[in-house]
Symmetry: none
Amino acid sequence: MLTEKQEAILDFVRAIQAERGIPPSTRDIQRQFGYASQNAAMNHLRALAKKGVIEQIDGRTWGLKARLVQAHLFTVPVYGSIPAGRPTAEEQSAEETLQLDPSLFGLPARAANRLWALRVRGDSMTGAHILDGDLALLERREPRAGDIIAALVNGTETTLKRLLYRGRAAILHAENPRYADIVPESGLECQGVLVGLIRRTT
Amino acid sequence: MLTEKQEAILDFVRAIQAERGIPPSTRDIQRQFGYASQNAAMNHLRALAKKGVIEQIDGRTWGLKARLVQAHLFTVPVYGSIPAGRPTAEEQSAEETLQLDPSLFGLPARAANRLWALRVRGDSMTGAHILDGDLALLERREPRAGDIIAALVNGTETTLKRLLYRGRAAILHAENPRYADIVPESGLECQGVLVGLIRRTT
DNA sequence: TGCGGACGTGTTCAGCCGAACACATCGTAG
DNA sequence: CTACGATGTGTTCGGCTGAACACGTCCGCA
């Protein structure tokens, strides 16, 4: 979605805006990244705006929408079940959105735009103490063996499974003996790695 | 403290800043109040700054210092283990504090000062899918049968147990067969009822 | 081989911004 | 009566800002 540079710029804008309320000017960005020209920053801001993550607040100043800045909160989209395709930052398809303090899960600020949440359905992960109705917090990143990941199976729906390797073959293991392991035929599509869990018990 | 005009200006600044994140310029204020001179606004801003309700955010822009806009977040104290006595609102003894959105757990605003959190130790509640290291969110209120509660046993430490009744006698049931039920001798001291759970998996 | 996108330099320009200075009015406290 | 603070007007200035234009590099893709 975002290039590496664009993400760096976005992080900087977010940091400044969270700290002092006002986003950095193009020349602030220029200085921060050592650009010789103000236009380098301008180009990135325009690119970020085209991708919808920032906007021009008062017709001049480039910054994040006010709601996304509040204190040091992340705004995380919550999905019920994910239709085919990767969950992107398009929040249109998100059921709702939720605000949480990243320090709760020990997440660095730059994880902000890689986070999303999934409302867990079914009992396939009860062995890992993840229940129906729980809210799984996921980060879009490369999974490691043993991670619990949200994976796209059958190209239709996203499910939570533990990623294991049998030799070189990846298998998706349900933490419930009533469910069989899934062996992805073609490439494995990982949409996120579990980093946190939120449960409502009332 | 503030004059009538100053209060009007302050309200306007607050409104604009809440809406778009960036406070109005002196000329915005001038237009809003129909001043013929920008200096009228400047004078008021300087007066407000002298009284401490406003400051210069980035060396130029005048705006509110406090983030009075901050969503509807609860500040919840987090305890490791609770020493004897009831966990009160004194946050001095809290290990840390945590900010969360009450809507995450479907809690009404008036629950704010009844909430606290406990860092779970031990495996006595794994049957209820509550693990060592989890953060249990609790509300101080009268428990009902079947609730998972934080109870003070032996007058020394707080543990999480399920509250059951055998006839009229209350028993504290660990959701783990390796732990025996506890039958409180004297009155049962309930410090909170489990309303939510937060787990960090990384 | 050519095209376009990401990325970056160098420069100029019009507009907005805070700041300052000079000055006026009014009511109130000493 | 005087001094002062609150409230304004009118004007000017230097600095910062976003925007635009021209130009250049690198890399992947058709």
